[in-house]
Amino acid sequence: MNSETNTLPPRPKQSKTSLLKKYGLGLGFLALIIWSIMGTNEKVDWTRVFSMRTIENMDRVIPKLFQPTLDKLDRVLELMLETLLIAFTGSFMASILAIPLGFLTAKNMMGNSLAGRIANFICKLFLNAVRTFPEILLALIFVASIGPSPFAGVLAIAIGSTGMLGKLYGEVIETIDMQVVEAMEANGANKIQTLFYGIIPQILPDFLSYAIYRFEIDVRASTILGIIGAGGIGTLIVISQKNRNWDEVSLILIVIIISVTIIDLISAQIRKRLV
């Protein structure tokens, strides 16, 4: 038998720099993980975590989590509705606010003039800054300034979503077919006409799809806004936890899971039909 047929083909040689990069990255991650484990090890009192008390807690809490009480169903549903309304109002405001920002960040809409480029740059910077700001911090600032109310939650959701939607809108506008716009301009259409007949029909389905997708995210985000007093079902989560009403927590859990799932399904269906 020919010995060559039995051996595997030689492995492709990797360049030294890429190997070095890979090992460097791996070692970096390993160092990060070890540093974290050591740091946490100091903080956690393992004897308390694995003690009789934990087992007692589990005995007390876990069975209750599987026996939801229906006593407060009205209140939970009411607050869940409020959560959905906060998310809807916030994402609606954001989807409107993001439209001018999207146009300002799109390179093909702003032209090559210096003013256009500066406006473009400033808007991009602003959107990036907003996008990375955690929503809960925004909500915290608004609760502190206008008092605990759903309005604070709406503002936090609206501003937080504007960052992401503005960026996505801008990307959509950058990918439109400019030939349509040019053809309309060549035929003597003015700016408003090009906008309504050349640009908007091209971007509308994507805009709507992104806005609905963001609403999906906002529903999840607004469930937790309540812990800092910005309205919604989060308020009840904290109250139930403080009162140790685990059967209530269980009910909240079930209501959240069901409503989020339903909204995800509906929005996925709508988006499938849009795009």
Partner: protein, 276 residues
């Protein structure tokens, strides 16, 4: 006579009858949808007390006064923040690492091209979907009640939270891999473990790393919230400062969190670009 006839013809030429591209039925439907959305918005904005009239002078005064209270942030407070900040990063790192380890078997089970057992597949998929809908805060509340206040419940909450996202993303990647390699491995007698190790894993490894980094970014943000319910991290400090009306300290904290989140996002984006 003939001239006027000609001129009317010309105007007819210039103004052809405009037919709408959209059929009247569709137009009616679109208008109806817009009306429904607008009325829903009006209803919800009144219900959440955020109707447009809320943006009055008083509102801007309040926000302005708050900014006045928060600015300038007390930079000196930054030195007190570091231990809690490190704790937050530790929690996120460990939570992501554990989730990365456990998501591998789960995502194989939730991929219908590798897992041929229909019932096991749909059960795993269903459980993952349910897990993904639970907000991280609720997980933290439950774990705090189980194991007490501290870093440990936070890590557990982050682990479960990121497990759902990671397993979903990864199982979708596995479902889109090149199956010819898997079939070749099976044909030459590889068992399931070998198929996964040598045919599936090499194909998903770049995406796996990229998703892990992405989930790490999400975890850093999520771990800010966990402190509010006593699950460790920087949120606890922030909550305290606001409760004591130390708004200048709170602003400094917020800015520090922001800088950390942005720089971690930046680094992880750079690594992801280099990997893919």
């Amino acid at each position: 006579m003939s001239q006027s006839h000609l001129s009317t013809q010309r105007t007819n030429l210039h103004k052809p009858e405009i037919k709408s591209v959209v059929s009247p039925k569709k137009k009616l439907r679109n208008i109806l949808i817009v009306l429904i959305i607008l009325s829903l918005y009006t209803f919800s904005s009144i219900q959440t007390s955020s109707f447009l009239t809320q943006f009055n002078a008083e509102f801007f005064q309040n926000v302005g006064r708050m900014i006045g209270k928060m600015w300038p942030p007390r930079i000196g407070f930054a030195s007190a923040v570091w231990p809690k900040l490190a704790e937050t990063i530790h929690m996120a790192v460990i939570g992501t690492t554990i989730a990365c380890i456990f998501c591998l078997p789960l995502s194989v089970l939730a991929a219908n091209n590798i897992n041929q057992n229909k019932y096991l597949y749909s059960t795993t998929k269903f459980l993952l979907n349910v897990l993904r809908t639970i907000p991280e805060l609720l997980l933290a509340v439950i774990f705090v009640s189980l194991v007490g206040i501290g870093v440990f419940p936070g890590i557990l909450a982050l682990t479960f939270f990121s497990l759902g996202i990671l397993a979903k993303l990864l199982s979708e990647t596995i479902e889109s891999i090149d199956m010819s390699q898997v079939e070749a491995m099976r044909a030459s007698g590889g068992n399931t473990i070998q198929v996964i190790r040598f045919a599936v894993l090499p194909q998903i490894l770049p995406q796996f790393t990229s998703f892990s980094l992405y989930v790490f970014e999400i975890n850093i943000r999520a771990s800010v919230v966990l402190g509010f319910v006593g699950a460790g991290g920087i949120g606890l400090l922030l909550n305290q400062q606001i409760a004591f009306f130390n708004y200048k300290n709170a602003m400094a904290l917020t800015l520090i969190i922001y800088v950390v989140v942005v720089s971690i996002d930046y680094i992880s984006n750079k690594i992801r670009e280099a990997l893919l």
